[in-house]
Subunit: 540 residues, 2 copies
């Protein structure tokens, strides 16, 4: 009982009762599956192509998997790695590994064998569940690491064989304290080795409830898995959708055709995705207004006015969220405010482009200067976004120095730069390293990007700093145009000069597709590298 060990509420002859264990249960997101399977045993919990798994079946499969893991030697806090696309097995691992007392390490499926080997070694995992398609990437793992193939490749499915060895009743929980680790999520970053972000049971539980509330999952969502489940444990949606008694619709990859089929035929109510995923949707020939309102959580970059109005026309309601791997995915949400519905779409998009403020279950974020003082809420002064609270990771695995640095001053440092609006919403201006400094003036590459994206011919764009002998740095724009649309470099620059201070406008515009990460973020360093070739530093 924490109230006893913490000693702050109980004293000798205190009039206050201490609960004696009856009044406290450790927060544990695996409790949601037990509850939903009890209430809705016949409801479809998982759709995977033609396959259907009911909640009773899912609970039994998870029980079997947890007990098989324990039977084959899993001990408390042992790591279990997974290399899978959005298939039922990865969802099951999200429930079964913690139920067995282990710690899930879901690995980005776009990584190469060397990166995968590094993560398995660093995490200390002794078992890797690998999708049949991805088995080649699991080659060269350290000796002693067992690879369990998920899926039928030679007439047998080792994953299903393992489940057959398990006990349908499951195993007793080993959880003693809700601040124990539940998962490690490796962030790739642009430099250095990936860092292992540690999530706790308490954090995952509260974040899952936060998603239920902010996304308004209700009592029977049909959730489409466009966001990779390996990415921040799918923003805790494996637990959140289960808490809401929802149906998980699995997708190996978010092809727009499959997404539209799921929306029209399977009754999808919610999905999450980067603007890249959203763009793929609105630009697809199957795009047609959904009969029911669909809620789409969008992160990574705010939707442009053009994208927003097209999504609205398709009956897709956008919720703009922001966070990092270190904050279990989303930490802030740009909550829809009174009166926004009546605004013109361009103004609405500008307001929706803000990152907003902390989730109901998260602490409010701050924007601070280098001395950790709040910047003025003037919508102009830039500072760093810092977070703390139950939505922040426990720290980096086996890396106390990096943890200490990230937590300096008692707050997690996001490295992202933002302004603070008078209405308390924050608005990102740049990833720290993407700030452009031109003639001593700061230029936010995001501000320039949003301006260019407001041009009706533009699909997407990225702005990076290039070296300039006179000004130090100057912005350069890389633009992909909408299907069938045309625009010239001069037109784009003129469009910017009508809307921005001239020093912020790009000196050059290049047209073509943008390089992306597996999670849909534009790889600005790929654009930046050729511009800075031969130089020692990347700022000027």
């Amino acid at each position: 009982m924490a109230s006893q060990t913490n000693g702050s509420t109980t004293q000798v002859s205190s009039p206050w009762p201490a609960g004696a264990g009856v009044s406290r249960t450790e927060l544990d997101p695996t409790s949601f599956l037990r509850r939903s399977a009890s209430i809705h045993p016949e409801r479809v919990a998982v759709i995977d192509g033609e396959r259907r798994i009911t909640y009773a079946q899912l609970r039994e499969r998870v029980n079997r998997l947890a007990s098989a893991l324990r039977r084959y030697g899993l001990e408390r806090h042992d790591r279990v790695a997974a290399l899978c696309p959005n298939v039922p097995a990865l969802l099951e691992l999200h429930h079964a590994v913690p139920a067995a007392g282990g710690v899930l390490v879901a690995i980005n499926t776009r990584l190469g064998p060397q990166e995968i080997r590094y993560i398995v070694e660093h995490s200390g995992a002794r078992v890797l569940f690998a999708d049949a398609e991805l088995i080649p990437y699991a080659a060269g793992l350290p000796t002693g690491v067992e690879v369990v193939r998920v899926g039928d490749a030679d007439g047998a499915d080792p994953y299903e064989r393992l489940l057959a060895d398990g006990d349908p009743e499951g195993v007793p929980s080993l959880l003693l304290d809700e601040e124990e680790p539940i998962a490690i999520d490796y962030t790739s970053g642009t430099t250095g080795r990936p860092k292992g972000v540690v999530y706790t049971y308490r954090g995952a539980y509260l974040n899952a409830l936060g998603e239920v509330i902010e996304a308004e999952l209700g009592h029977h969502p049909v959730y489409l898995w466009t966001l990779p489940m390996f990415h921040c444990n799918g923003w805790c949606f494996p637990w959140a959708v289960t808490a809401a008694g929802g149906t998980h619709v699995c997708l190996r990859r978010p092809d727009p055709e499959d997404v539209w089929r799921a929306i029209h035929e399977l009754g999808v109510t919610h999905y999450c995705g980067s603007p890249t995923v959203q763009l793929g949707l609105v630009n697809h020939p199957d795009a047609a207004r959904s009969e029911r309102r669909v809620t789409a959580l969008v992160a990574a970059a705010p939707p442009s006015p053009r994208l927003l109005s097209r999504l609205e026309a398709l009956n897709i309601h956008v919720v703009h969220v922001y966070g990092l791997t270190e904050t279990y995915g989303p930490h802030t949400v740009c909550t829809w405010r009174d009166g926004w519905s009546e605004l013109p779409v361009e103004r609405r998009a500008a307001l929706l482009a803000r990152q907003g403020q902390g989730y109901t279950t998260a602490d409010a974020v701050r924007v601070v200067d280098e001395d950790m003082h709040d910047v003025p809420r003037d919508a102009a002064t830039m500072g760093e976004v810092v977070m703390r609270g139950n939505n922040v990771m426990a720290g980096y695995f086996r890396d106390p120095e990096t943890t200490e640095h990230a937590f300096r001053g008692g707050w997690f440092h996001s490295g992202d730069l933002a302004v603070w609006h008078p209405d308390d919403a924050i608005e990102l201006r740049d990833r720290g390293k993407d700030l452009i400094i031109s003639g001593g003036e700061n230029i936010s590459s995001i501000e320039v990007e949003q301006t260019i994206c407001a041009h009706p011919a533009v699909n997407e764009c990225a702005v990076v700093a290039i070296p300039d002998d006179r000004w130090g740095e100057r912005p350069k724009a890389f633009v992909s145009l909408a299907d069938g649309a045309t625009a010239t470099e001069a037109e784009i620059i003129a469009f910017c000069r009508e809307r921005l201070a001239h020093y912020k406008c790009p000196d050059a515009v290049v047209f073509g597709p943008l390089p992306k990460t597996s999670t849909g973020k534009v790889q600005k360093f790929v654009l930046r590298e050729p511009e800075w070739a031969g130089r020692e530093r990347r700022i000027n």
Copy 2:
């Protein structure tokens, strides 16, 4: 940091990071007002007659009240009592007393001066906020207890004067541990002195989120205060509605005319109330279908088929919940299951009459025999409902013996008797003391009541045991008829004999209004007393 003091996750040279305070914030339901006031400062937070209080104003008033309490000597965990109907001041006290570090004691407004004096003395409160109408009931308090009148009686309002003394910026929180006490709720019970049920910050926070989820409050509910706010702290809705950025519509008393006006004119989306409140609504001449769906949480007794179908016709969707003061109000919810919408209303009412299972944020309840073993899930064997987890009180204030007894075997004993269905839902059969034992056979008074309530002429009914020389006890029914409806004693008995084992049917039926408590529960002891006059025991 609990993970450090608990010692279970941190060890010398552990690879696991310990969060160092950055990763944990104590759960505190007063955080919801700060957040909603930041996001929706201009939104109406409170409606009270013609008065409107925005979220920015509510935050300022709560800050002023908290700082004034502290300025006038409130120390950590000091009790602050309140004797108010559902007025804005009582809502403000729910936020301000914990914000100041105090413990709120909201007193039932139907109690007499002696009972009020007992509660103030037992809780140790040194200040009582009393509504102007209720000041006479605060007479005779112990010396040293200051009474602050709420409301204008002589051209001045001491409550508003106190706010004027406060700091609009509020005071820093004193909270160190989320398991500290936030409120004491006195339960009257039918015998003995009231017991002080202690709620914690953690429990109130999680219960509030549970209400947001189960009631689907969404992002801007308009919540009508029909449930007394003094009752289990209004089931934590003072915090839940605020978390959802909702509007609190205050009502001094739930007159059906005012309720209908609020539904039709103020856009009410949610309310809570006993069947008595619901009956008053459907029977009122103003009853007319609501344009928007209204969600009504119903507790105390399940709605009859007749009441259910009339509420549905009025576009009022019933959510049946069950709990006790010891469980922060509701602990279980009869979650709407797949296929119920297609069932005939009588069958639907029978299913909806079940108490269901634990909230998303609560542990599952059990039904146990005297040795704490689960009874079979056969829908027939009766046992006692027991609870544990974050939704259970910390214990009784200054009463370790009663707490220990209530928590015997590591579970809270509700005293309520239920059967357990094969689908895991529980269904109450009786308050422990209302069980009727006739010829050695148990008769559930609730079962008989539900049967009688299915009769189309019946509005409400209560069944109690009366002494019988041959059988020991026999059931007797007290019935109130629907407006304009008629029925005879013989008709009611015949109706029961068609549906129940004959030994369960009442020997006598009396027509007339039923005696009620302030929260709408039928006072069976009032019905029972005359029947047992002159006897030493109340069972036979």
